[in-house]
């Protein structure tokens, strides 16, 4: 087979896996929007905050160390121990649940019934607050996330496929971290679906998503469900933060991964978990193929960011609610 064709296949495969990484971020947006109608601008910062907290706990860092030292004149930075990864993940989840409870208790409880734009603005404020809190708690230096996740191209796949083309083809490059991310995303999505289909709280969550007032009338606590939803979004943020943080170290630019999720949501719809996955895959493959075939050879490259949005806009023109979004029908 010609090398150019095989490299095109390689681009598609890598685009699919990049799409999974985008979908991981988009899932958090979908969970909150579906249950509460809030477009959570802070989802990217939640991924950053979760990853910062995980590394901080693993490394035994004292939270708010700089603040403590300034106020009390001490010199404390570390507890002197390291926490095993699994325990650190569990402790981070506890922090994210506490954060979800606080967000509901101190912010959105007071904004019930407000216009969607007010709720959206509140999440913008929340994003900046969380970014500052993360800085104050854990510092702004880049942290290495060492969970033992495999990194680098799979030599086995490369060797096994090298013979498909001529001398100009070096085999397919597949990043082992992307393979892990794909597996994690599959498990995460299946777990979320199982939770929402087969558990009492999951069904309550769906009921709230369908109709708040009807759910309230049958005794479902909206407050509890919204805390639950923000907690699940915190879990998704942790997974996304870990996967993206493993590539680049945990640093404040992690919050910008939300920008990669927006075209995915526009394309897949704001209310569908399968939509986030399919949207991620389409965006991932689309932007990578465009860069490979047109962007790099003819337009000077770096086309992925804007092309993803253009692709989403093209879908939006024909299907404003996104591929899997719920069509809004208003009757007079």
């Amino acid at each position: 087979m010609p090398a150019d064709f095989l490299y095109g296949v390689e681009v598609v495969l890598n685009g699919l896996m990049a799409g999974v990484m985008y979908a991981l971020v988009a899932l958090g947006f979908v969970l909150i929007f579906k249950a509460s109608g809030i477009f959570n601008f802070a989802q990217g910062v939640m991924a950053l905050f979760a990853a910062l907290t995980l590394v901080g706990i693993m490394q035994g860092q004292v939270p708010f160390a700089h603040l403590i030292n300034e106020i009390f004149g001490t010199e404390v930075h570390h507890f002197g121990w390291e926490v095993p990864a699994l325990l650190a993940i569990l402790l981070t989840l506890v922090v994210m649940i506490a954060l979800a409870w606080s967000i509901q208790k101190f912010l959105f409880k007071h904004l019930v019934g407000q216009e969607p734009i007010i709720l959206f603005m509140a999440t913008i404020g929340l994003a900046y607050f969380l970014e500052g809190l993360g800085d104050l708690m854990w510092g702004s230096n880049i942290k290495t996330l060492d969970l033992g996740l495999p990194q680098g191209g799979s030599r086995w796949i490369e060797d096994a496929t090298a013979g498909l083309g001529g001398d100009d083809f070096y085999g397919f490059f597949i990043d082992k971290l992307d393979l892990v991310a794909t597996l994690v995303a599959i498990v995460l999505v299946l777990s979320l679906i199982a939770f929402s289909q087969y558990t009492k709280h999951g069904r309550a969550m769906r009921a709230v998503a369908d109709d708040h007032q009807a759910a309230l009338s049958v005794g479902i606590s909206l407050n509890f469900i919204w805390v639950l939803v923000w907690s699940l979004a915190g879990l998704v943020a942790l997974v996304a933060g870990v996967m993206w943080g493993a590539k680049s170290g945990v640093q404040f630019s992690l919050s910008l991964i939300a920008l990669k999720a927006l075209p995915v949501l526009m394309l897949g719809g704001f209310t569908s978990i399968p939509g986030a996955i399919v949207g991620g895959l389409i965006i991932g493959v689309g932007e990578k193929l465009f860069e490979y075939t047109i962007g790099a050879p003819f337009l000077g490259g770096a086309t992925e960011n804007w092309f993803a949005y253009m692709l989403a806009l093209m879908f939006l023109v024909f299907r404003p609610q996104g591929l899997f979004g719920e069509k809004i029908i208003e009757r007079v």
Binding site: S140, G249, A296
Partner: protein, 429 residues
């Protein structure tokens, strides 16, 4: 931002609202927050710690106390301009914008306000032409020098012959990242290597397409003009595709400790330029004694001796020398921005003076003239040793390629002069 910095800003504001003090005002347009904080923090720590050390040890410069005004830009051009506007009235003697984007915006403003800019190793390269850019200085080196130094280094590695070699440039798709392209195109014509620029969009968190392209095209060398997360991701992706790290060379903004540590052992062998030598310097003892132990450190003290801390300190030293020179020229200690400009233009940094300051060999020797605001353009090549967790200098200060860059500086600055109705010539006051 740390409480101490907040306190410093609040104190500076409070002082500014009172009677103007006869002190040397040096703004620090820092970025300790946001996506680029990991690079901005150590630079600012080094810059401030050194100036604070001068206050504590020497009573400032020439008997005048230094007043630092820190303003957080977040590496954002609009905020950087706001910082400039809000601090220039304090009597700012000079600005180091620490961002190419902010620099481009400040060049016309600072020129109109008659406040000198020092853009060390960044900013508008053709500002090296002092006859067009009377108020802008980019010594000791600029991006085009950096491109020349890298190519000269590669020539040395290849017995003086790059003919037929393939060299790619992975660059941040911004004014900063695009700066060396013209120079490298000219150098590729001169030396016969095939040059391929590959753009990475801001912030550079996702670079799969670019590194798949590099894997397909198999260049002999890859250069990098990156900043922030782009550096860490590029180094990780290079390791992922198995690109030989010793053939991957970043510029001086792609070669700090935090750029390589996230990739762990896989980053071993990665190279970068540096405009300042790193290592243990005697001046660090003075900083520890007079600043850190006194509880006056700009940060938590952990950045002391790192690449960017040392560069920030070097930038502060160059400011100190320019102010001292201005005091010397004009015979007053309480100098104005215009006098500092004169000091910058008469600056001569010698090996003896650097040793005297406890910074032996921190930078190359150079002198500034009315015509040449760019310095010597020399740079060293350093390599990351992941086992020892430190950068190791591979070379002494290497020459840039003035034969190529001088005409480009002339051409670009002439275009700027024509666009802005500037008649080139030395500043006459």
């Amino acid at each position: 931002m740390k409480l101490q910095n907040l306190t410093a800003v609040a104190l500076a504001t409070a002082l500014a609202s009172g009677t103007a003090m006869a002190d040397l005002v040096i703004p620090d347009l820092s970025y300790r927050t946001g996506a680029y904080a990991a690079g901005g923090t150590p630079f600012s720590d080094g810059f401030q710690d050194y100036l604070n050390m001068l206050n504590a040890r020497d009573g400032g410069i020439g008997g005048e106390e230094i007043r630092i005004i820190e303003c957080e830009t977040g590496y954002n051009t609009e905020k950087g301009v706001e910082c400039y506007e809000s601090t220039k009235g304090e009597g700012a003697l000079m600005y180091q914008p620490l961002s190419t984007g902010i620099t481009y915006q400040l060049i016309p403003k600072a020129t109109a306000d008659k406040i000198p800019l020092h853009t060390m190793g960044y900013g508008r390269t053709s500002a090296a032409n002092g006859e067009v850019f009377n108020w802008v200085f980019n010594y000791p080196a600029n991006y085009w020098d950096a491109a020349g130094v890298i190519v000269n280094y590669l020539l040395g590695e290849n017995d003086g012959d790059l003919n037929g070699k393939k060299i790619a440039l992975v660059y941040h798709n911004s004014a900063y990242g695009k700066e060396p392209i013209r120079t490298l195109e000219a150098l590729s014509e001169k030396h016969g290597f095939e040059f391929n620029p590959i753009a990475v969009d801001h912030p550079g968190q996702e670079q799969k397409s670019q590194w798949l392209q590099i894997r397909r095209e198999r260049p002999d060398y890859v250069m990098m003009w990156g900043w922030g997360v782009m550096n860490q991701v590029a180094i990780q992706e290079a390791a992922n595709i198995g690109f030989p790290m010793e053939n991957f060379i970043g510029n001086w903004w792609s070669g700090a400790e935090h750029d390589v540590t996230p990739a762990g052992a896989a980053a071993n062998g990665y190279k970068s330029l540096n405009m300042n030598r790193i290592g243990d310097l005697p001046v660090f003892e003075d900083i520890k004694k007079h600043v850190h132990e006194a509880g006056e450190a700009a940060g938590d003290g952990s950045n002391l001796g790192t690449v960017l801390y040392t560069r920030g300190m070097y930038a502060a030293m160059l400011a100190q020398e320019a102010i001292a020179k201005a005091q010397d020229i004009h015979g007053v200690s309480d100098v104005t921005p215009e006098m500092v400009r004169d000091g910058m233009e008469a600056l001569a940094v010698t090996a003896d003076r650097m040793s005297e300051l406890g910074m032996e060999g921190i930078g190359p020797e150079f002198s500034v003239t009315c015509e040449d605001h760019g310095g010597s353009g020399l740079g060293i090549v350093q390599q990351w040793n992941a086992g020892d967790n430190k950068w190791v200098a591979l070379t002494d200060y290497l020459e840039p390629n003035d034969e190529i860059t001088a005409p480009l500086v002339e051409e670009d600055s002439a275009a700027f002069a024509a666009e802005n109705n500037i008649t080139p010539g030395c500043y006459k006051g």
